[in-house]
Amino acid sequence: MIKLFKKFLVFLKKRAVFTVLTMGFFGGVIFWGGFNTALEATNTEQFCISCHEMENTVFQEYKHTIHYQNRTGVRATCPDCHVPKEWGPKMIRKIQASNELLHKALGTIDTPEKFENERIHLATKEWRRMKANDSLSCRNCHDYSSMDYSMQSQRATPQHIAGFEEGKTCIDCHKGIAHQMPDTSSLTDEERKEFNLQ
């Protein structure tokens, strides 16, 4: 048995390049698989609400909305709206999100009162992000070119047609649909115009 093992070692020594390549290949597969698995694990609703900052505030509000519970049972969970689907933008968003770890440590929103004070700041940040990418995370499911206006409600049809003609994007009107709308009275006139608020 020991002899066999020795022979195997000799074989490896003779074909060092082959050995390195093989190990590199399998090592790479394992590393990449592990990295992706870990990344996907942080891209789930369960992970998001593992912090009480998320579970006690925004998640409770989201539970009453159509993206959480609806007729057909198709759901949009946290990352569907808050993390881009493509690899590059996803990586950028994930790296930006490491800032949240700092604020978790600082306890920036660790009480309902603190969260309430930051609500408008957090919301405008997300509105800006969605406006900048043309509401991409909405459009991953709600494709404008696939909308049948005749099947929409009496109020929605003219608003959608006019809105898209004006070059508006989803978030311009559909604010506060998954979480509660913040008090917008503290915004300046320019900001109100930017966010299409009256």
Binding site: I2, F5, I66, S153, Q180, M181
Partner: protein
């Protein structure tokens, strides 16, 4: 010889590692088994309890059948007894669950039945927030937005407080729209109603 000793040591190390791994897997499996057996025990207890529960149920059923069997006596006199809103369901039997009423899609404004009636909401309002921070209804029914949204504007009466002082914002007592205005479901009236609106509202 030294080399082979080292190799043997390596093997021993490997074997030890494998043994530890197996141990940990075993202990994990045991805890899992224990958990499942706990569940099984609770299930058994529940099963032991259910026969008595079913007995009670059959008792109640027999009671209700007694009530039914005594009904024909009333029938002989041509008197069917008082029929409550629960219908023919016996007193001890569980109530029939009501059918689910559906909110209607958008329709034209609903006519009022009397002058003081708050207008009913002719559209769905799911997800429309009326919170301390934001009133969704006012994004269409507010004085600054109703024209663009082609919606009914909120009445001027809603800006007066209880002492009749005019305010520049919605009065607190009139802020929560759905306290008076309600979206409509497809429910049919439970009892016949012969109420007629006043002439002016009949058109």
């Amino acid at each position: 010889m030294k080399n082979s000793k080292k190799l043997v040591l390596k093997y021993v190390n490997l074997a030890l590692g494998a043994g530890l791994l197996m141990l940990s897997i075993n202990s994990y499996a045991e805890t899992k088994e224990a958990a499942t057996s706990d569940v099984a025990e609770v299930q058994k207890e529940l099963n032991a309890q259910t026969p008595s529960a079913t007995n009670e149920a059959t008792d109640s059923v027999s009671a209700s059948s007694e009530v039914k069997s005594s009904a024909p006596e009333f029938h002989d006199f041509g008197f069917k007894g008082v029929r409550s809103l629960r219908g023919e369901t016996g007193i001890v039997a569980p109530d029939k669950s009501a059918s689910i009423k559906r909110l209607q899609p958008d329709i034209d404004p609903i006519a009022r039945n009397y002058f003081q009636q708050p207008p009913m909401i002719p559209h769905r309002t799911r997800g429309y927030q009326i919170t301390v921070r934001h009133n969704k209804c006012m994004t269409c029914h507010g004085w600054d937005t109703y024209k663009k949204a082609r919606a009914t504007k909120v009445s001027q009466t809603h800006f007066a407080d209880r002492d009749g002082n005019a305010q520049s914002t919605l009065a607190a007592r009139r802020y929560f729209c759905t306290q008076c205005h309600a979206p409509q479901v497809d429910a049919k009236p439970l009892v016949e109603n012969k109420f007629d609106p006043v002439h002016e509202l009949q058109k």
